[in-house]
């Protein structure tokens, strides 16, 4: 590995985005999968870093899942997106940041398509007016939320309480970075670090003290792949993709996987349980899996947020071994307690992968 080669690419693929005043849109599925991630992002940016990130309660899904599943035409998805942009404009913002990678891909694709085909933009402008009576507008800057955490990674490092270091050995944690396919594979120049060697998560890992694992199936899809999973008969493809990645990363003994996509941590997390049930094999040590976290969850952990406030109990793979490696204190009794101590109920104990 020639690190200078990667560094050259990283310096070539930097993008100019502002560091403040953003219109923030959530993902339609992340709040169900990882309920602590988006709220942590907003808390870090607003309250820890003092930035202006505005949410409008009337924003909706971007339509990306339906679009990529071939259930709505592109014009419909574009009109939904035009409505989101119109809400941004009405709210007085011109910088747009989204939580979801697929949304980011859809927004990027839409803006590029409008740029290349102005007649299509004119058509969508009319559709927006006909359907919503809203004024068409485009963002001045488009960013994915992980771009902002990347941009603020050194500010976060200044407030860091628990670096990505094994407190028992003093060595950096070995971290696998997994980039959502729609981040930069379609438009390499729109992602920090480009498509082949993205820097967006690598930069966070290195800034927070971890060591990046580059393994042969690094670029491979997590296994979500939309139709691979949504079409029930295809789910074997989904699982086999995830299995391929874990077999490839296993020899490197990673402590953690960090992702920037709604679906990736879900499939990298849940399929570990299924693989364990089917084969008896686990990829972490001592019968545990490898935690697959969102970048907001990792940012929250290093900054000292309570693991259960971050929603880490929502992961199938037990987080406790990672917390102990990082020296993060936690109360096991509170793992399944909600706000005000409400009992959330405990998941059924899987037979082949340790859950606590």
């Amino acid at each position: 590995m020639i690190i200078e080669g990667k560094q050259k690419i990283w310096s070539d693929y930097q993008k100019d985005i502002p560091d403040d005043h953003y219109f923030y849109v959530r993902s339609c599925i992340r709040q169900a999968f990882w309920p602590g991630s988006e709220v942590t992002f907003l808390d870090i940016t607003r309250n820890k870093l003092g930035k202006d990130f505005y949410e409008n309660p009337y924003h909706t899904t971007c339509g990306g899942i339906a679009y990529h599943s071939d259930t709505i035409p592109q014009e419909t998805a574009m009109t939904i997106i035009a409505r989101q942009f119109a809400l941004m404009h009405e709210s007085g913002y011109e910088n747009y940041v989204c939580s979801c990678i697929t949304s980011f891909g859809c927004y990027t694709e839409t803006l590029e398509t409008w740029h290349e085909y102005p007649e299509l933009e004119a058509k969508i402008r009319q559709y927006l007016w006909d359907s919503c009576k809203k004024e068409f507008a485009k963002p001045k800057y488009l960013a994915h939320a992980s771009d902002l955490i990347y941009k603020f990674r050194f500010d976060i490092a200044k407030q860091m309480k628990f670096p990505l270091v094994n407190v028992k050995t003093g060595k950096p944690l070995k971290v696998v970075e997994h980039i959502g396919c729609h981040y930069s594979k379609m438009f390499p120049s729109k992602g920090f670090g480009g498509a082949e060697y993205p820097h967006v998560l690598v930069g966070m890992i290195e800034a927070w003290g971890g060591e990046v694992v580059d393994y042969p199936e690094r670029r491979h899809c997590c296994g979500f792949g939309f139709r691979q999973y949504f079409v029930q008969a295809n789910r074997g493809y989904s699982e086999s993709n995830t299995h391929k990645k874990f077999e490839s990363m296993e020899p490197y003994e990673p402590d953690l996987i960090i992702t920037n996509c709604p679906g990736c941590p879900y499939f990298l997390d849940r399929w570990q349980y299924v693989i364990a049930e089917q084969t008896g094999k686990t990829y972490g040590k001592n019968g545990y899996g490898i935690p697959a976290l969102t970048y907001e969850e990792v940012a929250g952990l290093v900054m000292g947020y309570d693991p259960w406030d971050l929603g880490l109990q929502m992961h199938q793979v037990a987080i406790e071994p990672l917390l102990e490696k990082m020296g993060i204190p936690y109360d096991p009794k509170k793992k399944y307690q909600g706000i005000n101590g409400k009992d959330l109920g405990q998941p059924m104990c899987p037979s082949c992968i340790k859950s606590v």
Partner: protein, 336 residues
């Protein structure tokens, strides 16, 4: 006094054109930016399809240009049209007047790092065809350490919309098979694979080389493009490709991967080309006047082109063009 002909470029085209013009009684003057004549051919070990030593060809060409005024380590930094010819300023501050100009500036090698998915400059054992040729010439390259399995990727930077080069680079297919045979000569036990889109074996003896590579050297040709290269824990390369004849994806571990880099227009001549009023064609190379009857002419009176500055060309094609440009220049000088 003989008529001066300014020849910009001292590679195969420039040397051969100069030699021919000299024989015709004119006074060619070669301006070469590097420290030696010979161009890319001088960097090569053996030539396809007959494995002929490149040095023999270069030496013969050098012999033919003995006595011809040559500037090395020199570039044309300015050129203006004057009455009855051109006035050129060289980087050594000398000036010269010439009746005609021959652009024989050749090509650049495609920068392999632009195809990021192949990992050149990232993974240690990914190398270019030029670097492999240097290994054949010198026997030295720390990346080549008794390899057991070697892959060649054709069309790196050619026939590729992603890098905006849609043209065929013409010589890479044959070069890949030549080099595949040569690496088998050095490492007979190694497995050698080439990954191709189409094998364009168009010239005399090329198809024979294709058959020889399989019959005599057991080179395995796989019709499909490599899409991704990565590295395993031992530093071996893991490639993914599609075998389109089997209709199946393929994953393979290699010790060395060789990228057959295409030719690109030599951009170092752009400023002078612009001053001479010679445009580029749709592939980004220099535009000649007519692809059939005016391949050495440009739309500018007294400005001629030869060799790979107008398109990728093999060495025989380049030498043929150099001879024809000499005839064109001779006729131009003697038109009255």
């Amino acid at each position: 006094m003989k008529d001066n002909i300014l020849i910009i470029g001292g590679g195969a085209a420039g040397m051969e054109a100069a030699a021919q013009l000299h024989q015709m009684g004119l006074n060619p003057i070669i301006v070469e930016k590097s420290e030696a004549l010979g161009g890319h051919v001088a960097q090569w070990d053996r030539l396809f399809p007959a494995f002929h030593p490149a040095k023999d060809v270069v030496d013969a060409m050098l012999d033919k240009v003995k006595g011809i005024k040559t500037y090395l380590n020199t570039e044309v930094v300015d050129i203006q049209r004057i009455e009855n010819g051109f006035h050129a300023v060289l980087s050594n501050n000398e000036t010269l007047d010439a009746k005609a100009v021959v652009l024989a500036t050749g090509f650049d090698i495609f920068k392999a790092e632009r195809k990021q998915e192949y990992g050149y400059g990232i993974y240690n054992n990914v190398m270019t065809s030029v670097e492999l040729e240097k290994f054949f010439r010198t026997g030295k390259d720390e990346r080549i350490n008794n390899p057991k399995r070697i892959g060649f990727v054709h069309c790196v930077g050619a026939r590729d919309v992603k890098v905006c080069n849609t043209y065929c680079s013409k010589v890479c297919c044959t070069t890949a098979l030549k080099q595949a045979c040569e690496i088998k000569e050095v490492f007979p036990d190694a497995e050698v694979y080439t990954f191709y889109m189409d094998l364009r074996m168009f010239g005399l003896g090329y198809e024979d080389l294709y058959l020889k590579s399989q019959k005599d050297f057991d080179v395995k040709c796989i019709r499909g493009r490599v899409c991704e290269v990565s590295e395993d824990r031992e530093g071996k390369l893991v490639i993914k490709a599609e075998d389109t004849l089997f209709g199946k994806p393929l994953k393979m571990t290699l010790d060395v991967l060789v990228l057959m880099c295409s030719m690109e227009k030599n951009k170092s001549i752009d400023a002078i080309q612009q001053k001479l009023g010679v445009a580029n064609n749709s592939d980004g190379f220099m535009q000649n006047k007519d692809m059939y009857l005016g391949m050495n002419d440009t739309v500018q009176d007294g400005v001629f082109v030869a060799g790979a500055c107008t398109a990728p060309k093999s060495l025989p094609d380049t030498i043929g063009e150099a001879r024809s440009v000499a005839a064109q220049v001779y006729n131009y000088i003697n038109k009255e």
